[in-house]
Amino acid sequence: MQLKTTPEDEAFRAAARQWLLANVPAARAPHEGRAASDFARAWLARCRQGGWAGIGWPKEFGGQGLPPQRILIWYEEYVRARAPSALDCTFVGLNHAGPTLIACGTDEQKAFHLPRILSGEALWCQGFSEPGSGSDLASLKTTGTVDGDHLVVNGQKIWSSYSDVADFQELLIRTEPGSKRHKGLSWVICDMRTPGITVRPIVNMAGVSHFAEVFYDDVRIPLSNVVGALNDGWRVAMTTLGFERKTAAMGLQFELSVKVEDLIALAGPQPGTALAERLADLRAEAAALRAMTYRMVLREPATQSDGSMMRLHFAELAQRIYRTAMDIIGPEALVDNDWSHDYLEAYSETIAGGTAEIQRNIIAERVLGLPRE
């Protein structure tokens, strides 16, 4: 159990820091729409030019194929240089769809989609949740009926982030008639320009829109777009949800350490006050989250369940950080600014990607072995 870096690791850190400080955009990312997607694509293109795209991806698929300690170093430098949040329009492609295709796709699917994801040419969104299927994803009802060499898709998805600007969607549908729950599902690549698709943006409580409802009205998708086998989609989706807790999580988790430093700077010296105690707590908790992140990357086993504990700690710490920010900025909390905006956005942290309640159930049942309900 050691954390000894080599001179080459330190040279890597110095190179990363130098490049990031020279290339990180001066302005914050726009919140929504075309401006947001243009910004995200431009940043990804710049990273690719610099040789920094696909940090966690294997070399054979166009990524950097970096060992774990270098990925950690990259993300530490990334957040300290205030690089754009990893949670942008390129997120699904780089951290969900891409890795799923790497794990389960055909050679043709990989050859077509992976380079386009890495270059930013193709943005992806996720079509999993439905109005009636949130926590209980397996109850989903959007159907795909086989018609010759196509699937005809009918139904509706919701909370599909960036589906208004995305080129492709990872779509989970029910393809076996009469099937129940997680049997009979298929994971398909949906071209968002296919006729019959309607995207209706939803405004969130921060007053911006970066997710939507998506309606499918006799949408024809080639069977060659099925990833994994037909009716084996749940297994493929579980691959996806497993990836959620790996590389991208690092950036988001390390970022909280920087946010805490910004809060401390924002508050100014407050010796002996209750606020100082809260800030000290947040500094300690962010340090511990960073420790958990190191452990996730550097220890076996790194399972989905280990990821649940860390994901939940991250979500609740993020919310505490932004609540503290709202207290510090006082009356300016009533105005739309970066802190008040991020505070409202953070409400989704304990809801999206598995609610806190579900995560606790998973931890209790799968990590601690308590009986299922």
Partner: protein, 326 residues
């Protein structure tokens, strides 16, 4: 491997051996009998000089193994005299008193922990101790025990004695590394409490049946257990990082230990409380083991204080100013 957080073979071996010794010689159930711990088997194991170099009579491990050992001691609610032996030896060693240090580590000289309270010194599980390892304001002192009066301890199960606070010190240390080591090992024992209470609660939740099923099947109980698991995991990860940083003398070592020491007491106390709660009526009784963990958590939490973390440089400080508003 030089950059991984898996335990090495050497680490596994020493910790497995310590675990086996503790499981047979120091089962938590022994606390029902109320006898003071005989720490001789641990001294023979080398537990109190684990990170002392072999040429100086120690086992030659690092602070990392020592921290993990103290987590095991915490799990088994081993008498605070174990921590006293380790830290008294460290203070003596730092003061150049090598023979005294060896005597503490081998239990030829007996020490107990102590905290200042008003004008008094409270001795914690003094047993036959002649010297006290006193936690002062940002320092440790070795004090001769004199005029000590036994007193009923917390819940009538902790053993304490009170002596006047004006005793002279045989040795003192405000050395940053000694103090950080004390913080590390206190935190490690608190982690042990946090982990043991999580495990105790989970085991009980799987066994105790009400309404026709184990109580662990109910979400309220599940969520308590999940919270205990998250808190213990977080503290465990931070212990690894802090121990490595201190062992390697890294620039962020004080920061990491300060973070650990700040988080450890609340984690242990919250888990110990939840453990009582999950045990229901039995948890409230003196007969169950749960209450001992509550008391030990309080004892350990009183031993010194984390360095003010806001006064220390942060390893993840931003490298450029915040963005302009768009």
């Amino acid at each position: 491997m030089s950059f991984d957080l898996n335990r090495s073979e050497d680490q596994r071996q020493i910790l497995d051996a310590a675990g086996a010794l503790l499981a047979t010689g120091f089962p938590v159930a022994r606390l029902r009998e109320g006898r003071p711990d005989d720490l001789a088997p641990l001294a023979e194991f080398g537990a109190f000089s684990l990170s002392v170099p072999e040429p100086e009579g120690g086992a030659g491990f690092t602070l990392v193994e020592e921290a993990l050992l103290h987590a095991l001691l915490g799990r088994h609610l081993v008498s605070p005299r174990a921590l006293a032996a380790t830290l008294a030896a460290a203070v003596a060693r730092r003061a150049g008193m090598a023979d005294l240090a060896a005597a503490f580590a081998g239990l030829e000289r007996q020490a107990c922990l102590a905290v200042a309270s008003g004008g008094d010194i409270l001795l914690l599980d003094p047993a036959n101790a002649e010297m006290a390892l006193l936690f002062e304001d940002r320092g440790l002192a070795l004090v001769e025990i004199a005029h000590a009066q036994p007193e009923a301890g917390l819940g009538r199960s902790l053993a304490v004695a009170r002596m006047p606070g004006d005793a002279g010190a045989v040795a003192r240390s405000d050395d940053a590394r000694v103090l950080a080591t004390a913080d590390l090992l206190v935190s490690a024992q608190l982690l042990g409490v946090a982990e043991a209470t999580r495990d105790l609660a989970v085991a009980y939740a799987g066994l105790r049946q009400q309404f026709g099923k184990p109580i662990g099947a109910f979400q309220a109980i599940k969520h308590h257990c999940a919270n205990m698991a998250i808190a213990a995991e977080m503290l465990s990860a931070q212990l690894d990082i802090a121990a490595i940083a201190l062992a390697d003398g890294r620039p962020d070592a004080e920061f990491q230990v300060a973070a650990l020491r700040r988080l450890a007491p609340r984690t242990a106390l919250a888990n110990a409380r939840a453990c009582v709660q999950i045990h229901g009526g039995i948890g409230f009784s003196a007969e169950a083991d749960a209450h001992h963990f509550v008391k030990q958590a309080h004892l350990l939490s009183r031993l010194g204080e984390a360095r003010p973390i806001l006064d220390l440089p942060a390893p993840m400080a931003p490298l450029r100013p915040a963005h302009e508003r768009t």
